[in-house]
């Protein structure tokens, strides 16, 4: 893979603040996303990882204003380039969609309308936002250029989705996602439904297109290995909380949060056989989260203080935040001990 450009802009294009999303159930609300805050910088690729059900997809759909009932946004603020998304009226939101935020969906297999030609599905998004295109030749050229960006042959222009392979459908979704040059593109497990070879190619295409067009990208996934190759920063979620957000090298070389440490430790190694540590401990009922730290029931280092106070995000260095009491100045001794046990189990 070609040397990846590193983005170091300080201009914030997406600012999520204190976002909380619940799913209403007869037994009470399930807290899917619990007061998370993060920033996305211009040109950056941010990976959002966590176990299934940790709220990463819900976060993405919350940002896109696509949370499906019974889910609903309790409170929070989502600013894209200074526009508060949650305050938009219906018609404003419709116009903002795809130009401000676009989506590359999970399971591209069923994400295209089966009764519409590929070209019509790209044309409809262009015409919905830019009005009727009278110059059909220019429109055609524009779509061919999009195809070329994602490595699709022009012959699929007139085809129906069922005539394409899975990888091709995913590329169509990528081409569609960047068609209007949105500020932020969110790729929700965009490669999960593909086999590993195609997965890698599609992921590379995604990053290549992102660089060419100059958008910011959020990639949601659970494949830590794949994400490590394509993202600039990684945000780790656990049970609706963002526990750590850090440049990708830091996360792999020096994970700080105990959950991130377990997660990194669970990446299979070809050198040794090791048990999956992450299964230790119990997951709490998402309707009644434990007091204090969300992870304390499974955390090997938890002590009384963790049950009493919820850990705030602590900035340990530039663009690296962690929500754990161990990194509070006053518990330095504990941290040293904990890291020592980790080094010599």
């Amino acid at each position: 893979m070609a040397e990846q450009k590193r983005y170091d802009s300080d201009r914030v294009v997406l600012n999520v603040d204190n976002l909380r999303i619940h799913y209403a159930t007869p037994q009470g609300d399930v807290i899917a996303v619990s007061d998370i805050s993060f920033k996305l910088y211009e040109g950056e690729t941010l990976g959002l990882v966590g176990e299934s059900g940790c709220g990463k997809s819900t976060t993405a759909y919350g940002i896109l204003q696509l949370v499906q009932p019974p889910g609903y946004i309790v409170h929070g603020s989502i600013e894209v380039d200074g526009t508060e998304v949650l305050n938009l009226e219906e018609e404003e939101l419709r116009k903002f969609r795809w130009t401000g935020l676009s989506l590359i969906p999970q399971g591209a297999m069923n994400s295209l309308n089966p009764t519409m030609r590929v070209k019509d599905q790209i044309i409809d998004v262009i015409e919905s936002h830019e009005g009727k295109q009278n110059d059909k030749e220019a429109l055609r050229e524009r779509i061919f250029e999009l195809f070329q960006n994602v490595g699709l042959p022009n012959r699929i222009y007139n085809m129906y989705p069922h005539e394409l392979s899975g990888g091709m459908k995913q590329r169509v979704c990528i081409a569609m996602g960047v068609a209007l040059h949105p500020t932020v593109v969110i790729a929700d497990e965009a490669t999960s439904a593909l086999d590993v070879v195609v997965q890698r190619i599609v992921a590379q295409t995604l990053v290549k297109v992102k660089d060419e067009i100059g958008v910011s990208l959020i990639v949601i996934g659970h494949d830590m290995g794949l994400l490590a190759q394509i993202v600039d920063r990684i945000a780790v979620m656990y049970a609706g909380k963002m526990v750590e957000i850090a440049p990708v090298e830091n996360v792999y070389a020096n994970p700080l949060h105990p959950y991130t440490q377990l997660l990194i430790d669970s990446i299979p190694s070809i050198k040794e056989r090791k048990p999956l540590k992450i299964t230790e401990g119990i997951t709490h009922d998402p309707r009644n989260p434990p007091s204090g730290c969300i992870f304390r029931l499974r955390c090997p280092f938890a002590w009384e203080h963790c049950a009493e106070v919820e850990p705030p995000p602590i900035t340990v260095e530039n663009k690296h935040d962690v929500a754990c009491h161990l990194y509070d100045e006053q518990f330095e001794e504990r941290r040293t001990n904990a890291l020592a046990t980790l080094a010599n189990p």
């Binding site: 969906p105 409809d124 919905s128």
Partner: protein, 341 residues
């Protein structure tokens, strides 16, 4: 849109001819299983009206010969198939010397017109109602109104015709005249011709019969459509359509209705036979001079030729309608076009 292969066309045509052949055979067998002899029945009727019929035995014998009823059954069958192929449906025994072909030729356009227009209306209205029931932007009052209007679905069409005739042909009067005519396909004293006056009279007379078919049928289609719409709403491409910021009305017809209508088309093809049968009773209620009335008179007079002819034509018509829907299906569902190895 897609295109269909020669193979697909051939297979559909084969099914069509098979249906017609099986139908013809059944039509040949069934009336012959019924007790009674049609010629004797006719003589009996003549006796009833005119007293004693001279040389009744000779007449019976001559007519049996004339209609070939004395031949062995397989000869009758082969002759029947041969004649049917040439669309020679024989004579109507009760209306001799009128041929079945003539009678059917006069009645069929009325039934096709009535059922055709009713089908277009209930299919459009039913699917539209179903789609609106499922759409999130539909006004609340409409979502309440539609299910109420669907309560008619459980009423048999013939019974519903009675109700409509009573209300609109008798109870509601304007200037001492009922709102709609009670019987007939066009105003009395008119002759069928291509004038605006005749045409409007046909529409005016056809309104109640068509309504009694539409009102009892559209609810079924609305419910089917609503179910399909709910399924489509959960599809991944619907979330993408929303994320794309497409106009809501465009999403409704291009993404939702367009996909939900496909199974409805299949269901329509399957139900066309039932539909035509259902219209028979409605036609009788309204003394509408279509196939229904013709079949009825055929059965009442034990008129073999007429029963066979009308049933056969009805089956061919439904099979033809199914064939047309089958052949247009690949044009509306691109996924079918490549099928047909």
């Amino acid at each position: 849109m897609g295109s269909f292969s020669l193979n697909y066309l051939l297979r559909r045509l084969l099914v069509f001819f098979l249906t017609v052949w099986v139908a013809a055979t059944l039509i040949f067998i069934i009336p012959r299983l019924a007790p009674g002899d049609p010629i004797q029945a006719m003589i009996a009727r003549m006796t009833q009206f005119e007293g004693y019929v001279e040389n009744a035995d000779l007449i019976i014998e001559a007519w049996r010969k004339r209609f070939g009823l004395d031949d062995p059954i397989h000869v009758q069958y082969l002759r029947f198939l041969g004649n049917t192929l040439r669309l020679d449906l024989g004579y109507s025994m009760a209306n001799f010397p009128a041929t079945v072909y003539e009678l059917v030729g006069r009645a069929l356009p009325w039934t096709i017109g009535l059922v055709g227009i009713a089908t277009i209306i209930f299919f459009t209205v039913g699917n539209l109602c179903g789609a609106l029931l499922a759409w999130y932007r539909t006004p609340r009052w409409l979502k309440v109104m539609i299910p109420i209007s669907m309560t008619f679905t459980s009423v048999p069409p013939a019974l519903f015709s009675l109700l409509l005739v009573y209300i609109f042909g008798f109870l509601i009067k304007i200037n001492e005249r009922p709102l709609f005519p009670q019987v007939g396909a066009y105003a009395r004293g008119m002759t069928p011709e291509f004038t605006l006056e005749f045409f409007s009279s046909v529409l005016y007379h056809g309104f109640l019969p068509a309504m009694s078919i539409v009102l009892v049928t559209f609810g079924f289609w609305a419910l089917g459509m609503r179910g399909m719409m709910v399924t489509i709403e959960g599809e991944d491409y619907m979330i993408l359509a929303q994320a794309k910021g497409l106009k809501p009305f465009y999403v409704l017809y291009r993404y939702m209705i367009r996909n939900a209508i496909l199974p409805q088309m299949t269901a329509l093809a399957v139900s066309i036979g039932t539909l035509i049968n259902g219209s028979v009773l409605v036609e009788i209620m309204f003394v509408y001079n279509g196939m229904g009335s013709l079949i009825y008179s055929g059965i009442a007079n034990q008129d073999f030729g007429l029963i066979q002819g009308t049933s056969f034509i009805l089956i061919v018509t439904s099979a033809l309608a199914v064939l047309i829907i089958d052949l247009t299906y690949p044009l509306i569902d691109p996924r079918i076009s490549l099928e047909g190895r």
